[in-house]
């Protein structure tokens, strides 16, 4: 009834008309403005930090340094290396040093200027490739390495020795900024009985919950987190909102007043997480008829000043580094290292866009060397049902890659299109490129301890249903899709279902809203709750009908006997009777993810519970005079298991593709060799506009996942992940130049065109 229909997003109207309330729109009696004093040095010793003068400024209620934090001065992510406020040493430009709460923005600004701060510069490490050079300072552990992941499979030396063709290439990618419309922000409100309520923009309320308790020293029972309307996140609101909430909370407790702390755009740009820059070295071997024999891959991620999410981002990058291919012998070494730059973290794709850019470019380069069509080499090698991944995971079900490939090729008319485009003359060259990718859905073996979810479902006396989950809406459409799942489970119209805002006091810890897991994980918890409630309702009528509650089906706004659908009672009447009989109609469903496994030394195991698959075909135009690359058309086929809401799936494909185009073509954030950010604002960091968006053809493939709600598996990140390599491959097809460094700015393309370099 509701699943599979493109119902309009529940939040569309309020967002389009400006009625939605973001944290910046919120005001409280006595509310103060919070501000952060930040480091202007990439590394240095804090030799003087005196806040006396700042505290004496009129209208200033609190000025705090690390010494004033009531709880632990730490922001726990994977390790506990990052402080809430710097102590002793600063490690990147933008690192927080002191906090101010004042009655006005002007007073807060004056206080910032009045803090007496002396920093003595220390030696810096900016280039991650120099992490182990003897001249570089040690910033983390003994060797600057945050994490080292491996995959060991088969006899790699022998496999290369047996290969007919081998290529070795190096690919590089740089930062990507989330550029969410709404910058980071929190409002912390001390309660009369010594607790704290925190409202704000976030992906992971339970991370924030833990962080606020840590830094305030308050028991977790006294901390409540409420997610406000979140204006985009893309991974950028996974871990860092814990910092922002921590700052607002310690200020609020010190000032004994509500404190609202909203980051300015440049401040947000400089200090909040980014996609990791990378260097990926790929060595690939194949037989002369195009069968992959071996892959040796060396990955280096620039983690920035603190570990934050680097170990897990790197892990996903590692697992995805060989692409969706059958490769008998594999050796992968992946390292994330420390530098004196902004800590990098989560961004749609989570470490995989970097490694997929490398492998998907390398596959094309290998095909070119063998003299084989890029589609053909993929047809020969891509994973199918029953195959093993490079981590040794046997693929059982829901492997829709072949169908994605076939449909993308057919709908783009790939072969004819290529021929037609190559036939044109003139300075603008056109061509077509392809990428085939996969995505491990959910946290996988890298985050099993978070892999759980809860859902509150409450049937109201009037028969309408409210529900709440612990995963968040950030613009992806989760509230709508989950509402459809509730409606479908009960067989009632979608309009009778309402999703409440996320509140940490309403549902159990459901882990983070990341890894494209909300639909599957919250959907599963919802189905657990709905199933119990349906049992309770059926129990009301079953004795009268002389059947077991299990023999009753819900649908068409009724409950009816499965064997005799004419015997029925309307949903409303049944709910009314259940209330009269004091039957429980409000519960919390709880679910944990199916198991995964992983061996850290060999990199072997069932990395993820299920995979989503995708194929992108890009048509580009390369102006050989200017080096400008323009993507004209894009076909994007995605196996999502089941499209609960097809329009929202298409929306994810379109939005993610354009974000991928920005990554491929125009987005470049520069931190210079002295560690200074050069262009931390949206006028100098170029995300695509609607005018830059190509004609996009979304293709939905549904290869059902039996454990997912109605067959669905997550895919929200995937649309971005394979765009850059498809574009690079298309540029090669068009103009014969190979781009191994993203983004493909005209300044990078034009010299290659001049040289005619391969």
């Amino acid at each position: 009834m509701a699943v599979g229909k493109s119902v309009v997003r529940v939040d569309a109207r309020s967002k389009a008309t400006g009625k939605a309330v973001y944290v910046a729109d919120m005001f409280m009696p006595g509310m103060l403005i919070g501000k952060v004093l930040r480091s202007e040095f990439p590394r240095g010793k804090i030799v003087r930090l005196d806040v006396k003068k700042a505290r004496s400024i009129h209208g200033v209620h609190a000025v705090l340094t690390a010494d004033d934090i009531p709880g632990k001065n730490v922001c726990h992510v994977v390790f506990e290396d990052m402080p809430l406020l710097a102590t002793g040493e600063v490690r990147y430009v933008g690192e927080p040093i002191a906090l101010i709460a004042a009655e006005t923005e002007a007073a807060a600004q004056l206080a910032i200027e009045a803090v007496e701060l002396d920093i003595e510069p220390l030696g810096i490490l900016i280039d991650p490739e120099k992490y182990n050079s003897p001249d570089s300072p040690i910033l983390f552990g003994e060797d600057n390495i945050f994490a080292h992941h491996k995959i060991r499979r088969g006899d790699i030396e022998n496999a290369f020795a047996q290969s007919d063709t081998i290529i070795e290439r190096v690919y590089r990618t740089t930062y990507q900024e989330h550029a969410y419309l709404e910058t980071q922000g929190m409002l912390a409100v001390p309660t009369a009985e010594g607790g704290i309520d925190v409202y704000g923009t976030m992906q992971c309320p339970f991370y924030v919950h833990g962080a606020v308790s840590d830094v305030t020293g308050l028991a977790q029972s006294r901390v409540r987190i409420v997610q406000t309307t979140t204006g985009g996140a893309f991974g950028g609101k996974e871990d860092v909102p814990s910092l922002v909430a921590g700052w607002a909370s310690v200020l609020a407790l010190a000032a004994k007043r509500p404190v609202k702390l909203i980051l300015g755009r440049t401040e947000d740009f400089v200090s909040m997480s980014k996609r990791h820059p990378s260097r990926v070295e790929v060595k690939l071997g194949a037989t002369k008829d195009g069968k992959l024999t071996a892959a040796g891959i060396d990955i280096l991620f620039d983690g920035g000043a603190y570990a934050t999410l680097s170990p897990v981002v790197l892990w996903r990058g590692t697992v995805h580094s060989c692409g969706p291919y059958r490769i008998p012998a594999v050796r992968v070494d992946a390292r994330a290292v420390a530098t004196n730059k902004v800590p990098c973290g989560a961004y749609r794709g989570f470490g995989s866009p970097q490694t997929l850019f490398a492998i998907e470019s390398a596959i094309d380069e290998l095909a070119e060397k063998i003299g084989m069509d890029p589609v053909r080499i993929r047809e020969i090698n891509h994973l199918r049902r029953g195959d093993e991944t490079v981590t040794g995971q046997k693929l059982g079900e829901s492997v829709g890659l072949q169908e994605c490939l076939e449909r993308a090729i057919t709908e783009s008319d790939y072969y004819n299109l290529r021929e037609k485009l190559h036939g044109r003359n003139g300075p603008v060259k056109r061509g077509v490129g392809i990428s085939t990718i996969f995505y491990g859905v959910g946290l996988g073996a890298g985050g099993t301890h978070f892999a759980r979810s809860g859902a509150y479902v409450g049937i109201q006396p009037d028969g309408s249903v409210q529900f709440a989950v612990g995963t968040t809406e950030m613009g992806q459409g989760m509230r709508t899709v989950l509402g459809q799942i509730v409606a479908e489970a009960f067989g009632i119209p979608f309009e009778r279902v309402y999703c409440l805002p996320v509140d940490s006091s309403r549902v159990p810890d459901s882990g983070p809203t990341v890894a494209s897991r909300a639909t599957t994980m919250s959907g599963r918890a919802i189905l657990v709750a709905c199933s119990t409630l349906k049992g309770n309702l059926a129990g009301v009528i079953a004795p009268e009908w002389g059947v077991s509650p299990k023999a009753i089906t819900f649908g068409e706004n009724c409950a009816f006997r499965t064997d005799n659908p004419a015997k029925r009672i309307s949903w409303n009447d049944l709910v009314e009777r259940a209330f009269a009989q004091k039957v429980v109609l409000t519960i919390v469903g709880y679910d944990s993810s199916p198991p995964t496994s992983w061996d850290e030394d060999s990199g072997q195991g069932d990395a993820y519970v299920i995979y989503a698959w995708a194929v992108n075909v890009a048509q580009v135009a390369v102006d050989t005079r200017t080096g400008v690359v323009r993507v004209e058309k894009l076909w994007a086929a995605h196996d999502v298991g089941k499209a609960i809401n097809p329009t929202l799936v298409e929306g994810q494909i379109e939005g993610g593709s354009v974000q991928g185009l920005g990554y491929a073509l125009t987005e470049e954030y520069i931190i210079d060799k002295n560690g200074i950010p050069m262009n931390p604002r949206l006028s100098f960091y170029h995300i695509p506009t609607t005018v830059d968006a190509p004609e996009i053809h979304p293709i939905i493939v549904e290869s059902a996942y039996s454990e997912g709600p109605f067959g669905a598996k997550g895919f929200g990140e995937q649309p971005l992940m394979g765009i850059a390599p498809a574009v690079a491959n298309a540029v090669f097809d068009a103009a014969g130049i190979r781009l191994r460094e993203q983004p493909f700015l005209p300044e990078r393309v034009w010299p290659k065109l001049k040289k005619g370099a391969r």
Binding site: Q109, A621, V628, R630, T666, P688, P746, W750
Partner: protein, 284 residues
Amino acid sequence: MLRITKVYRPDNIDEALNIFDDNPGIRPIAGGTDLIIQLSDSLESAMLLDVSRIEKLKKINITGGKLFIGAAATHSSIAKSRKVIESAPLIAESSGIMGGPAIRNRATIGGNVANASPVAESLPTLIAHAAEIVLVSANGLRKMPVEDFHLAPGKTALQSGELILGFEIPVVSEDFFGFYNRLGSRAAVTITKVGVALASIKSGDRLGNVRIALSAVAPRVIRAPETEKIMSGANLDDGLIEQAAKKLVSECTPITDFRSTSEYRSDMVGQLFRMGFGRETPQN
């Protein structure tokens, strides 16, 4: 941080000039699309004189063979104006591609010129069209060529107590030939990396009165006198275009910054110039 202490919104020029007199240091504001950003970045407070209600400053009309565009005319009103499209086509073009729709609806040509950026969209086309800027103060009116007004990045010949009234541009003749080609970093809402404007009169195979203005390749928007000389009166063929393109490249001094490289900018000056003769606009 934005600290505005006072805003005046006069309806006519006399009132505006009086306010100027009474409030030393007050700053004119039109669309605010440059100024508000600059004030937000600075720590100083400001008093503002909003010129966007002065009718005279928003006028677009033709008198005595000259097109007048008021300083507070918005880029959208300029881009849409028949008068501008017919009498000074390159100016309509530059106003039509700057920023995005929301910016064009607020931002003005006077603000663009007063802001004096070497990448300003309207400067090369005004200069190519031989526009004069009209300034008004308590001492009366004065005029000068736009190219003399723009002195350096952020620096103009505007004196304190002076407002830009508008621009006077000779109406082009039927045999006008010209183009404005620029490259940015994406298809819209982008700052110019390199821009080339050329205005001339075409008779048969020859160009006369050639005026070329280049943006983003020097500390200010510059003319290219040598290239203009080569082109004026010569037979317009591929050889001439090639020779002129090379000369043009030699007349600019672009820099490498985080937006582009000097090598790329130099070469693009020539490319955009060649494309202009093929009636091609570069894609971003």
